[in-house]
Symmetry: C2
Subunit: 219 residues, 2 copies
DNA sequence: TGTCTAAATTTTGTATACAATACTGAATTG
DNA sequence: CAATTCAGTATTGTATACAAAATTTAGACA
């Protein structure tokens, strides 16, 4: 099944084990996962839809290397959509959601304490996706999922301070607004949280390092 | 190339020549377009990604049949995103855009006058997409494109009055706001235009006709 | 008749084979 | 020595072949 390959590549991209620009040869990927190119092609096509991979005709697939401009756009989109989603979630929030999100925040803390940056980043993204699920709006959920995935790659590329993840505070504040059923508050907290994330990026560097070159140094 | 098949199927879906629920057999589609199943599968996967087709494991692909709920969600999303896009477009608007949109509106009028409902619907969707291009925000443009496509299918299924298309007035008002560089005005016109479209749907019917049954009557 | 079962058929899922295109590098030439 | 051409190699694009699953059909039985 292709989903195993999609997940594997996604994870590797988010954790920067596959650097932006890296060539994803169909044969190579197929041998690693023990499947034929047919499946790999399907997986790569799927990853291309979610913009984590770029496919060039007759040249193959590469790990995406989002531009500074694209990074801005993704966070502008999040700043428009997610506050609305948070407001919707606040209106539907109940006890079950509390326990689920609480666990999530705890897991984030733990990952951060252990210094597992990759896992912390993944969990932080899942938190936003979980909120969309609570809002129970499939169209917005799809958008948020897409934006969160792209953000994971963008953060992996452009995050200013490799040490800090600095998220948990906002997530706690969101929880509070949800518990109080405060839609307006949740909306505002979410907006400023997204703006924070956006401003935590270093989007002034001339160009993202073209990793395919770095890769070329290897042999 | 798969794009020919994607376009062909899309057009057929929008124009209701392929009814929601219709089975899209890989072999059948492949023979029609003179390509192998490989290409057809790729095309169907692409259409599934844009939600115009539903793929069920081991059962195949079917023309999507968006639910009433999905219809509401799509237009709610449009009502959030497109006004913002319109405001951005208003700020970047110039002469070249005027001529392009004017032509577009004329074409819509013509199609409507000729009673070509399918073409009028397609042009109306393209108008919204054109605005997104003017706004020059790739992320929002992708979202608008996706939403417009889904809207085309939804309108084909749920539109109240088969005769009226009733759009051109709003499109003209949008043009006016753009020309004046009036971002706030454009935003508001767009919002009410989307709400109009939304309320032009008949979303009270118990269930969309399951066309696969109607199809079964054929032989 | 109507329903259940099982073989036969069709259709999708996956792997492989062949074709077309792009990449690599050595030989050649200015 | 730089640039260029032209094989040879490697990789992607597409078609086909085989495997697995679902659907259909036929027949048995009540």
């Amino acid at each position: 099944m292709a989903s195993r390959i999609i997940d594997g590549l996604q994870q590797a991209i988010f954790e920067h084990r596959l650097a932006p620009g890296t060539k994803l040869s169909e044969d190579e990927v197929g041998q690693i996962y023990g499947v034929s190119r047919t499946i790999v092609r399907s997986a790569l096509q799927s990853l291309a839809y979610s913009q984590l991979v770029t496919i060039e005709k007759n040249r193959g697939a590469f790990v995406a290397s989002p531009s500074v401009r694209e990074a801005h756009e993704v966070f502008e989109a999040r700043a428009l959509i997610e506050p609305r989603v948070a407001a919707m979630a606040a209106k539907r929030f109940n006890e079950k959601h509390t326990t689920k999100l609480t666990k999530h925040i705890a897991a984030e803390h733990e990952a951060m304490a252990l210094g597992d940056k990759g896992k912390a980043l993944a969990l932080s993204g899942e938190f936003h996706l979980e909120i969309a699920h609570i809002a129970a709006h499939d169209v917005f959920t799809d958008f948020v999922q897409s934006l969160v995935k792209r953000s994971s790659l963008i953060i992996a590329m452009y995050w200013k301070r490799p040490d800090t993840t600095c998220e948990s505070h906002s997530h706690h504040a969101l929880m509070k607004a949800f518990s109080a059923g405060d839609a307006v508050g949740a909306e505002e907290v979410m907006r400023s949280h997204i703006v924070d994330l956006h401003s935590g990026l270093d989007l002034h560097s001339k160009k993202p390092a073209q990793m395919s070159l770095a890769d070329a140094l290897k042999p």
